[in-house]
């Protein structure tokens, strides 16, 4: 952090000012002129919260993608299919048993199993052949998409939020002052906050495991130089299978989250594949903190964009990607 400030004082200053302005916009009571200029504070806060929680969802999808790529150089363009598959499984389980949490568990296990199969059948045979992996996973995503369309049809599915999470939650953030002088607090859907908290917990746990445990050390060593790691006697294929299963399982969990926040339908697989691509391009391939930062930036840009400049919301996301590529082609937090 301090090195970044030393090396890029101008960028550091700009980001500090931007963060300060952002915090002021969130916490302060807006003066009347500002509300007239850019709209109600409630709208702004909702967009910010939607952006952050959407960022949490993007992080779940993209972290699995980036983990798999970082360690194994496996380009899994069927990652979006795993997301959608997890979502459908979660929907089926949670409607059949009525248990939302069980949906997560089963979705994780089943997508992880699909991931193991993919690793064993496809990727192990094509180690180091980026282009072929890409082609094969594109082919697989087409086949999966059609199979899921066959099984589930073209309908929209929404996973029922459990009773204990339904309803809004009052946050200690003032959106406006009533004429009587009474403050109005922001109300926000509880389920989104809980899921966001859960994805933060998952992210922190992943970071801790990667940086503080022996397993994490093996994985990080594999990212840096897997040949030497294999030569030291680590059973690297086992590590690969485990990491692939975990990354795929994360995509499955994200599918259940996405089915609760939004809806599941054909085409969502490509949408989330692209979201995770953009997130990891912005954040840096193979970096978990990069995925978190990228997901936050893209989620916020998408939601704020769709509130304030609806026609160009997609273009804003894209411009961010272009800007990052122009300044740091390897992504914001990539090491190389």
């Amino acid at each position: 952090m301090s090195r970044f400030v030393e090396r890029h004082p101008a960028w550091a200053l700009i980001s500090i000012i931007a963060i300060a302005v952002g915090l002021w916009l969130v916490f302060a009571i807006w003066p009347p002129g500002l509300e007239e200029a850019i709209g109600r504070k409630r709208v702004f806060l909702n967009a910010v919260f939607n952006g952050i929680t959407l960022g949490g969802l993007y992080f779940l999808v993209a972290s699995g993608f980036t983990l798999i790529f970082g360690l194994m150089r496996n380009v899994n363009l069927a990652h979006g299919s795993l997301y959608l598959f997890g979502g459908y499984v979660g929907y089926a389980i949670s409607t059949a048993t009525g248990s939302w949490v069980l949906g997560f568990i089963v979705a994780f296990i089943l997508t992880a199993m699909v991931g193991v199969l993919l690793q064993l059948i496809v990727f192990r045979r094509m180690e180091g052949q980026d282009l072929r992996q890409t082609m094969v996973t594109i082919g697989l995503s087409i086949v999966f998409a059609d199979l899921m369309l066959w099984a589930c049809g073209g309908d929209f599915y929404q996973i029922q939020t459990p009773n204990w999470l339904i309803g809004p939650m009052e946050l200690p953030l003032v959106t406006a002052i009533k004429s009587s002088g009474e403050p109005v607090y922001l109300r926000y859907p509880m389920v989104r906050l809980v899921i966001f908290a859960a994805s933060v917990v998952i992210g922190v746990a992943m970071w801790l495991v990667l940086n503080r445990t022996r397993v994490g050390m093996i994985v990080r060593a594999g990212v840096d130089d897997r040949d030497i790691l294999a030569a030291t006697g680590v059973r690297i294929q086992l590590v690969f299978v485990a990491v692939f299963a975990f990354g795929a399982g994360l995509a499955g969990i994200a599918g259940v989250v996405g089915g609760t926040f939004q809806s599941l339908s054909p085409g969502e697989d490509i949408r989330f594949l692209l979201a995770s691509l953009v997130v990891v391009i912005v954040g840096g391939m193979g970096s978990i903190p990069g995925a978190a930062l990228g997901a936050l930036i893209i989620g916020l840009a998408e939601q704020l964009g769709s509130v304030y400049i609806p026609t160009y919301a997609i273009v804003v996301t894209f411009l961010i990607m272009v800007l990052v590529l122009a300044i740091r082609p390897q992504g914001l937090l990539a090491r190389r």
């Binding site: 594109i138 082919g139 066959w150 692209l274 953009v278 026609t311 590529l325």
Partner: protein, 358 residues
């Protein structure tokens, strides 16, 4: 890493050495003449449906895939935005030319609108390429895919220029010298002429100094840079050329369907172009056209075929996907590779190590 580099350096010269021996092999080959004659007299043997729905569609899709083949086969850059460039060009024809939507279309005559569309689409593709060449390999695929997706969602949301998800309908087609050039037979010949032009341009360029330098860049960018070639400039120039081909195909596409909508620039369609090029074979310019023919035939007849053998007719994409998977698994060089291997195999049986030609 260094091992891989060494092996590549020793293998490539052998492959390159036999190149100059065949200057225009496809022309000297009798099969090529037969195909050319059949294509020329096609209107005599095929009815309107086959002429336009099968052969003109094949040639248009093949030309789009040809632009991808040029980038991937000679430049080593797999770009998934070639359809996006074609779609952009098609949109520009609709915007600058005459269409049913008078609020958007500027109403220029076709001979002004088409060059404008070509120029803008080429500029768009070159800009995208300039962005994509900053990265390599797999990243190029991802970035071009992201560009394609951004364009798709943008056309869906933008009503001022792209008319949202309805798109632009009843685009006018050229009509001069007393000929309606969109009538089946003239249109077929226009498409054939453009496709042939693009095909020979790619064939020629692959042997011209620029093409050879590009292939050098593909095989070993660091060595080419050390020899004094500007690697990135070559790559961006390749994108510019490929974008122009894709833009030509886009103009034909919008004339063919007389309308353009976000559905025709969707991500799935972008990936279809990659499938076409890979299934046909991305090492030679004829590959994309073979792939396009297979794709169009499947798209047109898979439904009937699947119903006839007692399956659900809607599983066309499943069939495409499985076929694509099979090709990628067993032949890295598409149908051409399979054909060559079969020829080689047979030649080896007959004459004991006969050499393939072409």
């Amino acid at each position: 890493m260094s091992l891989a580099h060494d092996s590549r350096i020793t293998v490539r010269p052998a492959a390159l050495a036999q190149r100059p021996a065949r200057i225009w092999p496809e022309i000297n080959h009798p099969a090529a003449w037969i195909v050319a004659v059949i294509l020329l007299i096609m209107p005599l043997i095929a009815n309107g449906f086959f002429l336009i729905e099968i052969f003109a569609s094949t040639l248009i899709l093949g030309t789009m895939a040809l632009s991808l083949m040029f980038l991937a086969g000679y430049g080593g850059m797999v770009s998934l935005m070639q359809l996006t460039i074609a779609g952009f060009s098609a949109y520009m024809v609709a915007v600058f030319g005459v269409s049913g939507n008078a609020n958007i279309s500027l109403g220029w005559p076709w001979w002004l609108a088409v060059p404008m569309a070509l120029a803008l689409a080429t500029a768009f593709g070159t800009l995208g390429g300039a962005l994509a060449v900053r990265t390599e390999g797999i990243y190029t695929i991802m970035i071009t895919l992201a560009i394609g997706a951004a364009f798709y969602y943008f056309t869906n949301q933008n009503w001022a220029i792209f008319n949202g998800h309805t798109g632009i309908n009843t685009v006018a087609t050229p009509h001069f010298w007393g000929v309606n050039w969109r009538a089946d037979i003239p249109f077929y010949y226009i498409v054939l002429a453009v496709a042939a032009l693009c095909y020979f341009a790619v064939e020629y360029l692959s042997r011209a100094p620029f093409g050879l330098a590009l292939q050098g860049v593909r095989d070993n960018p660091r060595r080419m840079a050390a020899l004094g070639f500007n690697v990135n400039a070559h790559r961006v120039a390749a994108y510019a050329f490929a974008s122009f081909i894709a833009a030509l195909a886009g103009v034909l596409q919008v004339w063919n369907y007389r309308q353009i909508s976000p559905g025709s620039v969707s991500v799935g369609a972008c990936i279809d172009v990659l499938i076409i090029a890979v299934v046909g074979g991305i090492t030679r310019p004829i590959g994309p056209f073979i792939g396009a023919l297979i794709f169009v035939l499947l798209r047109t007849f898979a439904l009937d075929f699947l119903v006839r053998i007692g399956l659900d007719g809607n599983r066309f994409r499943l069939l495409i996907g499985l076929g694509f998977l099979a090709i990628v698994f067993w032949s890295s060089d598409g149908v051409i590779g399979l054909w060559q291997r079969w020829r080689q195999h047979r030649g080896a049986d007959r004459s004991g190590g006969g050499r393939r030609h072409g």
